[in-house]
């Protein structure tokens, strides 16, 4: 059980506090409900570029990192399609520095041409490092726009095109900040060696007088239902072929999420998963195969991807994947197999609880999707899934007309 208290300041900031006196540290997670889905299609990558600018100094504090390091703290941040997340761990006695720093960059940023120019270059190098300078690095740049035609999930967080980053102006950056970075669009989670009363007092002191920015919550054009199978093929200088198959599924908050998640584990949870056992170990068609749910706030994807052994025909390999999926649709999952994937989930969730930073991140994420209390309810939600529900979910989504396939072929 992760016991926590929930509060909300008058300016709308949501606060979650969990006490854990077994650690000398406190973790602070500040989540802003803005990600790459909030971007304009002609200016993608802005949410992530902005995350970089958040470290360039704020209204009253010239530099973010140095004072934190001086307090013995450590921090980082990440951006995805739905959100931007900033996190700190710091020795408990110096926690007030974290409140001071995070609240000041929520209050106002010191944006300059110079830091914008430098961070554009840094992000360009990040783009090269992650997407261009490694084999298969551009897969998501191809798969996303294949699966999504309308919804902003069609571009990756780094942006659709590096030109978008190069062209961003200081005004756009400033507008983005004013629109999204305010207390009524944020969730603050504090976990670790701190008393709830003390954490609340500090939150009120540092965040209490930051004004709310009323905004109209965006409504995203929903992705039209896919009606026929889509296929893309690329040839690149890579050592072996790779196949991706992606099906549209529901939202993270849909009831279907749990059976689907267990289904991905039946297929590829560990080396005993069906795909691995059959296609890697027995038939030796792939060197690696995996599957996952994107778990997004808006309807996401279930993805299967596998690297082929050299000399294996990609269509044959695909057919073998499909055979296993058909088998899943048509025959019962044993009680033993269900028990196995549920046990795995339970163990993982206990393991995640050993770390205060994990707990802070999870509390904020669950609160964003509706209820931080899910942190304690999910084990039961998974436990309650029946084999029939897994099969129904599979039948609902794993339909050929709902699938996008990417053949990523080696030119060798």
């Amino acid at each position: 059980m992760t016991e926590f208290r929930r509060f909300q300041l008058d300016n709308g900031l949501k606060i979650l506090i969990h006490e854990d006196s077994s650690t000398p540290l406190v973790a602070m997670n500040l989540l802003y409900m803005v990600g790459s889905r909030n971007e304009d299609p002609d200016h993608t990558g802005l949410a992530h570029l902005f995350e970089h600018l958040m470290f360039g100094g704020s209204e009253n504090i010239p530099e973010f990192d140095s004072p934190l390091q001086l307090a013995g703290g450590e921090n980082n941040a990440y951006t995805n399609n739905d959100l931007t997340d900033y996190y700190i761990t710091i020795p408990a006695e110096n926690i007030e520095t974290a409140f001071w720093l995070e609240s000041d960059r929520m209050l106002g940023l010191d944006l300059s041409e110079k830091s914008l120019e430098v961070q554009k270059r840094v992000v360009t190098e990040e783009f090269k490092q992650r997407y261009l300078n490694q084999p298969y690095g551009d897969s998501m740049l191809i798969l996303r726009p294949l699966a999504y035609k309308v919804h902003p999930y069609r571009w990756p967080t780094i942006g659709m095109d590096i030109k978008h980053i190069e062209e961003v102006s200081l005004t756009e950056v400033g507008n983005f900040y004013n629109k999204w970075y305010s207390p009524d669009n944020a969730i603050l989670a504090i976990t670790g060696n701190i008393k709830t009363g003390e954490a609340m007092k500090l939150a009120e002191k540092w965040f209490g007088n930051i004004p709310a920015t009323k905004r109209v919550q965006p409504v995203f054009t929903s992705e039209p239902i896919q009606t026929e199978a889509r296929v893309a093929e690329v040839r690149r200088d890579v050592p072996s072929d790779l196949i991706y198959k992606a099906w549209h599924v529901g939202k993270r908050t849909d009831r279907d999420f749990y059976p689907l998640d267990l289904m991905t584990d039946v297929l590829a949870g560990g080396e005993s998963g069906r795909l691995y056992t059959s296609l890697v170990r027995d038939k030796k068609l792939f060197s690696d195969i995996n599957t996952y749910l994107t778990g997004d706030i808006d309807p996401g994807l279930m993805v299967v991807y596998g690297k082929l052994m050299n000399g294996v025909d990609i269509e044959h390999a695909e057919k073998e994947i499909m055979n296993l999926l058909d088998e899943l649709l048509s025959s019962a999952i044993s009680t033993y197999e269900m028990e196995k994937v549920k046990n795995k989930f339970e163990a993982n969730s206990v393991m995640a609880n050993t770390n205060i930073m994990n707990k802070a991140t999870h509390l904020s994420l669950f609160e964003m999707i509706g209820d931080a209390g899910l942190i304690n309810k999910e084990i039961e939600a998974y436990r309650n899934v029946t084999p029939g529900e897994v099969i129904s979910a599979a039948q609902k989504y794993l339909v050929n007309s709902n699938c996008s396939t990417l053949y990523y072929k080696s030119i060798k």
Binding site: D65, Q69, V238, S272, R281, K340
Partner: protein, 426 residues
């Protein structure tokens, strides 16, 4: 109410790792050493089974890592599939590892499964059968991963770096080549296993919420295995290699991987603590000189860092970054400038305070919770060191003065000793 002063940092307390919990040692009846780290709030434990079975032990490349990877590919009582099924059924997180000096397995699991997990671990460690078919299949997969890694520029740069610094023959430096994947036989695996994976060379580190009964259960599963004395091998340290510049062209690369470094003093050397502090100033944290200059000031890279790593027989320092290829020479020039600056200008008090407190904060994190404690314990124990290593490091962080930094930079960062490796587009 006093108006809020946002200009000034709230009052700070001195950060300190404080008293580090002492690890309890238990010896099983066959002489196996077990170290117990009882901490944490969840009903979980992690077992690390560590052997002198690293790359340093192998006569031909890939032998130690293949033995290690094959441990769970079938045993006397279980097929590979059955082992995987069992490990997954109990929700265990199983890892095998091969390092330069050691190898072993580690497993994280819910306490309620203790007996089953120990039974599986004993099978995996002591009764593997090394089926020929699984060996062929593993080597085919690994060869394919190898070809993939040969396409990764950062990986090529590391390979070149270690070869340049430790030489192409010593296990610390030698590269794997494609034909090595044909060179390992079942007989070799069996011999290596008999030699290196036996109870007399085993150490167990247990961390997590440990109940009293754990020790007697461990005794049941591991205390009765006969321990054969292993002949102590003589290891040779890697030869001294001349510094050089190595350039490798990789067609289609859009960034250059730069690796700069050389051999240096190891963890047992009294200057090591000081060198760690110097390294942190140079490139060991987000606010480091290299990060500030090459990323935050110039935007040449997404990241740059430096580090010092100790092995049993040697140690090295390395600066590592991926830069836009057009910035390669400028970046190298700036890296060397930063080193020269550290050799000539004492760091100011503000910077020293930041580095001191950042490092002390890191030390608090290094002892936070059972698994961090276990990792820190192992990192000292491997070198025959104990908590005093960390107490001395703490003292050094608090007391080192700027002149000592200059002295260390001059002694251990001689520009002429540095190997410079660049892998990038033509």
């Amino acid at each position: 109410m006093v108006p809020l002063n946002r200009k000034e940092q709230p009052q700070l307390s001195t950060v300190s790792p404080g008293i580090i919990p002492e690890v309890e040692k238990v010896v099983l009846s066959n002489g196996v050493n077990v170290y117990l780290i009882d901490a944490g709030t969840e009903e979980l434990m992690k077992f690390d089974f560590i052997f002198e079975a690293g790359q340093i032990e192998e006569e031909i490349p890939l032998l130690s890592s293949t033995v290690n990877s094959m441990l769970a590919e079938g045993t006397k009582s279980y097929t590979a599939e059955e082992l995987n099924e069992n490990l997954d059924f109990y929700g265990a997180v199983f890892n095998n590892f091969t390092e330069k000096d050691a190898a072993g397995i580690s497993i994280l699991f819910l306490n309620k499964h203790l007996k089953k997990i120990l039974e599986l671990c004993r099978e995996i460690i002591f009764y593997p059968v090394f089926p020929e078919a699984e060996l062929v299949s593993l080597m085919n997969k690994r060869l394919q991963w190898y070809y993939l890694n040969q396409e990764k520029v950062p990986n090529l740069a590391y390979e070149k770096f270690f070869e340049s610094v430790f030489g192409s023959v010593h296990p610390y430096g030698r590269k794997v080549i494609a034909s090595d994947f044909n060179g390992v036989t079942v007989q070799m695996l069996q011999d290596f296993h008999t030699d290196c994976y036996n109870p007399s060379g085993m150490t167990i580190i247990v961390s997590g919420k440990i109940h009293q009964v754990t020790i007697s259960i461990l005794e049941d599963y591991f205390g009765k295995l006969p321990a054969k004395r292993k002949n102590k091998k003589q290891y040779l340290a890697p030869p001294a290699e001349k510094s050089r510049r190595v350039t490798l062209n990789k067609k289609g690369a859009v960034q250059s991987s730069i690796r700069i470094g050389s051999v240096t003093i190891g963890k047992r050397d009294p200057d090591y603590h000081g060198l760690k502090i110097l390294d942190t100033i140079l490139g060991g944290y987000f606010g480091s000189r290299l990060m500030k200059n090459i990323r935050e000031e110039k935007g040449f890279t997404y990241g740059i860092n430096s580090g010092v790593t100790s092995y049993n027989l040697a140690a090295y320092k390395i600066i590592s970054t991926e830069v836009g290829s057009e910035y390669t020479e400028k970046a190298i020039g700036e890296i060397l400038n930063e080193i020269k600056l550290l050799q000539n200008v004492p760091p100011g008090k503000d910077e020293m305070d930041i580095v001191r407190n950042f490092m002390l904060g890191e030390m608090v994190r290094m002892f936070d919770g059972p698994f961090a404690l276990a990792e820190s314990f192992r990192a000292a124990w491997e070198f025959g060191l104990d908590n005093n290593y960390y107490y001395d490091l703490t003292t050094k962080i608090k007391t080192i003065d700027p002149d000592e930094i200059i002295h260390l930079a001059r002694t251990y960062y001689n520009i002429d000793d540095l190997h410079v490796i660049v892998v990038g587009p033509e």
